[in-house]
């Protein structure tokens, strides 16, 4: 009975395995079939106690995403962290202000022509931070000059020729608020702006002078909007209306806000690596990985013979799966990540060794291979579970701590999970496939001396 069940389970295992391989191969292969699946997007529904998974209609295109993301230390680039001085911003406005700042920096970096800059903000130990990652930038100093500027907002009016805008004395510091609101009649979004007393006076003068003409709003000397003045506006409250979508209105409000708030930023960390250094690391790692894998496989096959061959095939699976996952999750590979990847090969082999030793032990006690194989997998499991659980917990700690070591921990954790999967799916399937055959009972195949006379 048990044997029948095992046989059936093994067929399920084999089928799963084949499906996994086909899928992983599809992801891995650079010029294979162009797989397109809806890109999952997690949306959080505030009213319900659930998190919904919805698609936003975008498709993941593996043909385009085929390159593995390389970390800054490998492809070269700069990692810049800024501390944001929020002393001039009211407590309850700080999160919005940070979002505005991010938007401003994004605009500046994009203007600088960096491909895919990564910009994110966060709060750490009471300090507001902004991180900018620039890949492949030659002149970091120039980029830093650009990023480090405090945003500057000003309002301009038409000059005498009516061709160009000229500066007025109204600037971002006169602005009190810029928010998005909706017209109750038309339901269209508009931007509501409010000036302080000083600004209200200046704004009144400007609007009086420019009825029927546009007023230019400039952020960092770039024109972001030029609403027309319908009438002279006193009292310091105004609306910018027009054919906005909500997102457009929001963006404009954010930009106005950014120019309003004085948020000087100071660089507190910068790391720059030349591309040549990173490429050198990649070459070396590839050589190291290849040599390492060969030595490990040779050892496994010469010591565990047939089991070693299965283990080597399992390692092949492991690599196919890992590559697919790294691509699917868009994991950024750093030098630490590569070390984690290679180290996890060693750890996944450890799982195999634990099982194989147990199988051989059971055979030494006189058991048939078919029986010993099943016992080996089940009896080694506690030990394997415990060691991997501890490693995974430590990885979780490292991922939580972040910084330069996160890459190592993520890849190692992934490697541990994938290693377990390949062993208990791939290697086990192969072993059980041959387990009941007659040739499988030869002692030589397992490098084992067996006591005689057991089932």
């Amino acid at each position: 009975m048990a044997r029948m069940k095992n046989k059936k389970n093994n067929w399920i295992r084999v089928i799963l395995l084949v499906l996994f391989i086909v899928f992983a191969w599809g992801v891995d292969w650079p010029k294979g079939i162009d797989i397109k699946v809806p890109k999952p997007k997690i949306t959080f529904e505030k009213k319900a106690p659930f998190v919904f998974f919805a698609t936003d209609g975008n498709l993941i295109d593996y043909k385009k995403d085929i390159n593995i993301n390389q970390g800054l230390d490998l492809q070269g680039g700069s990692h810049l962290v800024y501390s944001v001085d929020m002393s001039g911003v009211a407590e309850d406005q700080r999160n919005d202000a940070l979002a505005s700042l991010q938007k401003v920096i994004e605009n500046r970096v994009n203007a600088f022509g960096v491909s895919e800059p990564t910009i994110y903000t966060g709060k750490s130990g009471g300090e507001y931070r902004l991180t900018v990652e620039l890949a492949g930038v030659k002149d970091t100093n120039q980029a830093m000059d650009l990023i480090g500027k405090t945003a500057k907002l000003d309002f301009r009016e038409m000059d005498a020729t009516g061709q160009d805008f000229q500066k007025t004395d109204l600037t971002g510091s006169d602005l009190v608020r810029a928010t998005v609101a909706f017209d109750p009649n038309t339901n269209k979004p508009y931007i509501s702006i409010e000036f302080n007393a000083d600004g209200a006076k200046k704004f009144e003068d400007i609007t009086t002078r420019n009825v029927g003409k546009p007023v230019g709003i400039y952020l960092d000397d770039n024109l972001i909007s030029y609403p027309n003045v319908n009438q002279a506006i006193s009292g310091g409250k105004a609306q910018i209306t027009g054919e906005f979508t909500y997102t457009e209105a929001k963006n404009l409000a954010i930009q106005l806000d950014a120019g309003r708030l004085p948020m000087p930023i100071t660089n507190i960390e910068r790391r720059t690596v030349e591309a040549s250094l990173g490429q050198d690391s990649i070459h070396k790692s590839v050589v190291a990985a290849v040599i390492g894998i060969i030595v490990v496989c040779v050892f496994m096959i010469s010591y565990y013979r047939l089991l070693g061959v299965f283990s080597t095939l399992g390692l092949g699976l492991y690599m196919i799966f890992m590559l697919a996952l790294v691509k699917l999750f868009g994991i950024t590979l750093t030098m630490g990540g590569i070390a984690g990847l290679i180290l996890s090969i060693g750890m996944s082999m450890e799982t195999d060794v634990l099982i194989f030793e147990r199988i051989r032990e059971e055979m030494r006690n006189g058991r048939a291979f078919a029986h010993a194989a099943i016992l080996g997998f089940s009896r080694a499991w506690t030990s394997i579970r415990d060691s991997n659980a501890v490693s995974l917990i430590i990885c979780a700690l490292l991922i939580w701590a972040g910084g330069t070591i996160r890459g190592f921990a993520i890849v190692l954790a992934l490697g541990i999970v994938v290693g377990l999967t390949t062993t208990f799916l791939g290697t086990k399937a192969l072993i059980l496939l041959i387990a009941n055959r007659k040739f499988a009972e030869h002692n030589w195949l397992y490098n084992v001396e067996r006591e005689k006379g057991d089932k």
């Binding site: 750490s124 130990g125 100093n141 910068r270 690391s281 050589v287 390492g292 070390a339 082999m349 190692l412």
Partner: protein
Amino acid sequence: MKLIKLRKWWYLISLIVIIPGTISLVTSGLKRSIDFEGGTQIEFSGTQNQTKLEEVARADGLENFTITKSSTGLIFRTKTVDSEKEKKLKIDVESQIEGAKQVRIDNVGPSISSEITRNAIIMIVLASLVIVIYIAIMFRKIPKPANSWEFGAFAIIALLHDVLIVLGVFSLLGRFYGVEIDPLFITALLTIIGFSVHDTIVIFDRIRENLVRGSYPDFETAVSVSVYEMLPRTLNTSFLVWVILLVLYFFGGESIKYFIFALLVGIFAGTYSSILVASPLLVTWEEYKAKRKSREKKQRRPLFKKR
């Protein structure tokens, strides 16, 4: 059987390795990288001309810096400098020293470095906590004469043994070769902690199994048989990881060299301690307990006679 019999030698070898490192650790500590210290570190490749770099840096108005050689070039390190001076140094070095090329700059401010340090400490504390809980769960049931807290305590002693060796080696390396510890080193340490505990526990687990079976004449034999039974497993797994690390050490990138070295030392120590320190210590401890018991009996006897 010899492995356990020779235990005093194994203890001696451990002490010979641990003592100098620990002395160095206590007296001069560990050399910390700029990630923990804060400051600026600039790496130039293509030149080994230390004096020339010093000249150029002085001419640029930089002071209080250190220059060390690396296998590919020179490493310039100082307290935080502003990006203007940094830029000037790059231009001057690359134009005045033949072949020199700036390949890497790391500039870490005080708030970042203190955060990295804090995180490292929290991580080590948390990891230790996880390990102790893990050990406590693993050894709830141990048959007589041993008891569970003894197994746990010796697993932790083996762990401390491995950590001390790694810290000691790096303290010595820092003292004599200027090797620094960085966040990657902390990572290595945590990886070693996990590996070491697990290695010990696998053997202890077998000892427990054999004690339950109870077919061995004495405790020492049970331990000895268990160690021998687990020897292929322990050696093979460590060997595999070691081979991979060795390959990474010799062929891998420069930036992870000492990270790999820490793992090499730690995993070697972990394997050594689980076979030759932790398990024999169990035997030594049982012997000590037995001796104490018989001594107590002897001391009690006259008391009974008086009555």
